[in-house]
């Protein structure tokens, strides 16, 4: 079993983070009382996550040494009902180990960052004991995510899927008793509920897909990937509607988890969670679970091009739609949130088109640079918090208190931070260039691959994505100019303080990865492509290709790259023209507001999608609930059915029918009859008990004669 060298370590993907969280649950309370306690908790959590990373590396090596052959490790029996036999099996192939590496690698860096970030966050929010809980949740997330990516069946994947959903809920609502500004309110817990409920709609779709799979895939009765994929082609032949339904219901699940139209609305609100959470869960790992699911289900999707087209269009429309909203946002994290939705749209479009390698490539690079951006944004926010704190405590000649609520995440409060936070500025720049797709950063290579595939396969998808890429570069440029250039628009920004090394060092690692990540799948070499080919068999489409796309330098088309690079540079230039040339002054409205008018209002207000959902769904739901509660439940059920019909009938029955008729005349009479009959019987039979032994003997003799007679006559 040399090729399966380290497969036995697979359970430790889950056990290591679980061990970390158990340690922190059991000992955390004691740690928190020690002066070094916070660091110990963080170190345990980060070590647990790091152990998972090391296991992932070993497992990836195992798969590599086995030439991409799938290795499995079964922990035990899970569900055995009738024909259904499901084991708890870890599946190790090039796809799952890639995901493991991304999740645990980025996850570990974010754990380290969070040690520093949460140390200050809990102090600004005045609830230090909650530090412990954060790392417990974070480790739980890693465990759940590992189950998701390592499962060998849709059922196990679903367990992880729900697990990460739960962690997302817990961490969005981490500061459940306040809003993002630290004021006492239920805003954060409402955001958590919104995420959870929206995800529930998606999970419902996933479940239906699972039911269909179980019901329709004939004799298989299994959720095991290989068995499902083996059974699918026959069904696609005889009844393709089934596969279309399965894939589309799965798409609903993907839309929920990976924040695609129409279920993306939870992700911007999810920014209520602490920034490391936004980076880990809502940018780098969990939200890519949907992309992973489609890639994993590639054998199903390739059977039905119609569904593939719908997936690709969903992704492309989401990419453009979210990118436009990002342009009109002022909150630094909200911009990144919409950017994440947009980039997820790129990935979904890619895997929808069948460009699985490109999608996974972008997933990986995006995990690097979006985590970098989020964490840098967190650094910026904390920098402003520090400045604000400094002002509030040391008075600044104002004498008055800072009564007005200060939003450290609002870009209109920033400006000129490149001087006060130089390290963060450079890190942010790298992330921005990577996201905007500037050569030679990671985003350039991965996004270009998606665009090239789109241009070859679906021109309309290419058009949407190219415009989205333009907007991407624009809103990132706008952010850079607003945050780091110009003059400070708030005193807190002027006094912002750079973050400590525990936060910046993980950022530097991520920055390096963002710069060099493109090397994973360089044209002509296609390392990642060959690696994933072991798992995801790419089917070449016989598409009619325009002549300018036929030019290929080892799978690299210079025209496509040129178009996107020019577009990105142009977008950055325009953003400079608007925001950089004449820096925003404090209190000044966004310069785009006037020329764009209504369109900008739409972007600013997220195209009123939330309000629309609220109006179409939530308000109607409340109306129906109120109607049901007031009219149906109270007036009809309670007042009429219960009080009048049931209670009235019952009263009538009990008073008239039961008491006077049945009870007195029936039951009483019967009871009296029993008593009287007993009396009569005893009065009669006591005569036999006369005390004369001869009389008793006669009875015995009579009995003997009768029994013998009975035996004879029988």
């Amino acid at each position: 079993m040399e090729t399966h060298g380290f497969a036995f370590l697979a359970p430790w993907l889950v056990f290591a983070p679980l061990a970390g969280l158990l340690l922190n649950i059991l000992l955390g309370g004691w740690f928190m009382k020690q002066p070094w306690g916070e660091r110990a908790i963080g170190a345990i959590a980060a070590t647990a996550s790091g152990a998972a990373f090391i296991v992932s590396v070993l497992l990836a090596y195992t798969v590599f040494a086995g030439h991409g052959e799938v290795a499995r490790w079964t922990l035990g029996q899970w569900i055995y009902i009738g024909d259904l036999k499901l084991d708890w099996t870890f599946r190790l192939d090039s796809l799952s180990t890639t995901m493991m590496l991304v999740v645990s690698g980025v996850g570990t860096l974010i754990h380290i960052y969070a040690i520093g970030y949460m140390h200050e966050d809990v102090r600004f929010k005045n609830d230090i004991p909650r530090y412990q809980r954060f790392f417990v949740f974070l480790n739980l997330f890693i465990a759940a995510m590992m189950i998701l990516v390592s499962g060998d069946s849709y059922m196990m994947l679903f367990v992880g899927w729900e697990g990460v959903g739960l962690c997302s809920f817990l961490l969005i609502g981490f500061w459940y008793d306040m809003d993002t500004l630290g004021r006492s309110s239920w805003a954060n817990s409402n955001a958590a509920k919104k995420a959870f409920i929206t995800n529930r709609i998606g999970d419902f779709g996933f479940l239906i897909a699972g039911f269909l799979m179980f019901w329709q895939l004939g004799s298989v009765h299994s959720f095991q990937f290989d068995q499902v994929f083996a059974a699918a082609p026959a069904i696609a032949e005889s009844n393709p509607v089934i596969i279309v339904l399965i894939t589309l219901f799965m798409l609903i699940g993907v839309a929920g988890k990976s924040a695609q139209i129409p279920l993306y609305v939870w992700l911007p609100d999810a920014m209520a969670g602490p920034t490391p959470v936004s980076a880990l869960i809502h940018a780098a790992t969990m939200v890519t679970a949907g992309v992973y699911l489609i890639t994993r289900s590639a054998p199903l999707y390739t059977l039905v091009p119609e569904a593939q087209y719908i997936v690709a269009m969903t992704g492309a429309v989401t990419a453009l739609f979210a990118a436009t909203i990002a342009v009109g946002q002022y909150d630094i994290k909200k911009v990144l949130a919409y950017s994440t939705i947009s980039q997820l749209g790129f990935m979904v479009a890619a895997v929808g088109m069948g460009a699985y390698v490109a999608g996974m490539f972008h997933l990986i690079t995006h995990a690097f640079f979006k985590a970098l951006l989020f964490l840098s944004a967190g650094s910026v926010i904390l920098g402003l918090e520090r400045g604000h704190h400094h002002l509030a405590h040391h008075g600044h000649g104002h004498g008055g208190h800072h009564e007005e609520v200060f939003d450290p995440g609002d870009m209109r409060n920033m400006g000129g931070l490149r001087k006060t936070m130089p390290v963060t500025f450079w890190l942010y720049m790298i992330g921005t260039l990577a996201l905007a797709g500037i050569f030679p950063f990671a985003g350039f290579w991965s996004k270009d691959e998606i665009l090239l595939d789109a241009a070859k396969l679906y021109p309309q998808v290419y058009a949407l994505l190219a415009i989205a890429a333009f907007f991407t570069a624009f809103y990132m440029g706008r952010q850079i100019w607003m945050v780091f250039f110009g003059e400070a628009r708030h005193e807190a920004a002027a006094h912002a303080v750079e973050s400590p090394a525990v936060m910046t060092v993980p950022l530097m690692v991520l920055a390096a990865l963002s710069m060099l990540g493109g090397a994973l799948n360089l044209p002509a070499v296609h390392t990642l492509g060959h690696w994933l080919e072991h798992t995801v068999k790419v089917v070449e489409h016989e598409a009619h290709v325009a002549p300018w796309l036929e030019l290929s330098w080892g799978g690299f088309n210079p025209y496509v790259a040129l178009i996107s690079t020019v577009a990105a540079l142009a977008a950055i230039f325009i953003s400079w023209w608007i925001y950089g040339r004449n820096p925003l002054k404090a209190g000044q409205p966004d310069p785009l507001k006037k020329p764009l008018g209504l369109a900008f209002t739409g972007m600013e207000n997220k195209w009123f999608v939330d309000e629309g959902y609220w109006f179409v769904i939530v308000d109607r739901y409340v109306d129906i609930s109120r109607f049901l509660a007031d009219k149906i439940d109270w007036e009809f059920w309670h007042d009429f059915v219960h009080d009048k019909v049931i209670a009235g009938t019952y009263n009538w029955l009990s008073h008239i029918a039961l008491n006077e008729v049945a009870d007195q005349k029936g039951i009483d009479a019967f009871a009296n009859f029993l008593g009287k009959a007993t009396q009569w019987l005893s009065g009669t039979t006591r005569k036999f008990q006369n005390g004369f032994v001869r009389s008793y003997a006669l009875s015995v003799f009579l009995g003997v004669v009768i029994i013998l007679g009975y035996l004879l006559l029988k």
Partner: protein, 174 residues
């Protein structure tokens, strides 16, 4: 009609007659004496059936010990006759009817379910001899050892009980 049958009929006539005599005698002493005679005839039946040990026991235990005890008590209590009583009228008639029915049932049983009780083979001549007695002894002291021992305890208990019941309290009744 074989000699065996004649003997049997004579003996059984004696047995039934003595039993009826026991039943109908006014005087309890006569009843006891009739019963002794009855037991003696039954002892002869035992001999005819090839059970000499039981026959001897019958004579010694029943006709000897038990009936002597009865006679003692009858004479001790002076209970030879009792004054007639009017209680439980109809008891005699009912008993007679039931007795007739029971006999009728038995006769019916023997006549119409005859298959259950076939003719008995002549017992081995050996049964009336010493080895048979030896066999009884062996059986009593091997397979029936436990009941045999318990019987001895039973007799002891009966003895003690009889003594306790009839013992005169020194200080009279409390």
């Amino acid at each position: 009609m074989s000699i065996d049958l004649i003997l049997f009929l004579i003996l059984s006539a004696v047995a039934v007659a003595t039993a009826l005599g026991m039943l109908l005698s006014k005087n309890a002493v006569y009843s006891a004496l009739f019963l002794v005679l009855n037991f003696a005839t039954i002892a002869v039946f035992y001999l005819l059936l090839g059970a000499p040990f039981i026959a001897i026991s019958q004579v010694t235990v029943y006709a000897g010990a038990i009936m002597v005890l009865f006679l003692f008590v009858i004479m001790l209590l002076g209970a030879e006759t009792l004054a007639p009583s009017k209680v439980l009228r109809g008891q005699g008639l009912a008993a007679f009817i039931l007795a007739v029915v029971l006999v009728a049932e038995t006769v019916y049983l023997l006549l119409f379910r005859h298959a259950a009780v076939g003719a008995i083979a002549r017992p081995d001549a050996a049964l009336n001899e010493l080895p048979a007695l030896q066999k009884i002894g062996e059986a009593l002291f091997t397979s029936y050892l436990l009941p045999f021992e318990i019987t001895s305890i039973l007799l002891l208990v009966a003895m003690v009980g009889a003594i306790v019941l009839t013992k005169q309290e020194k200080g009279g009744q409390k």
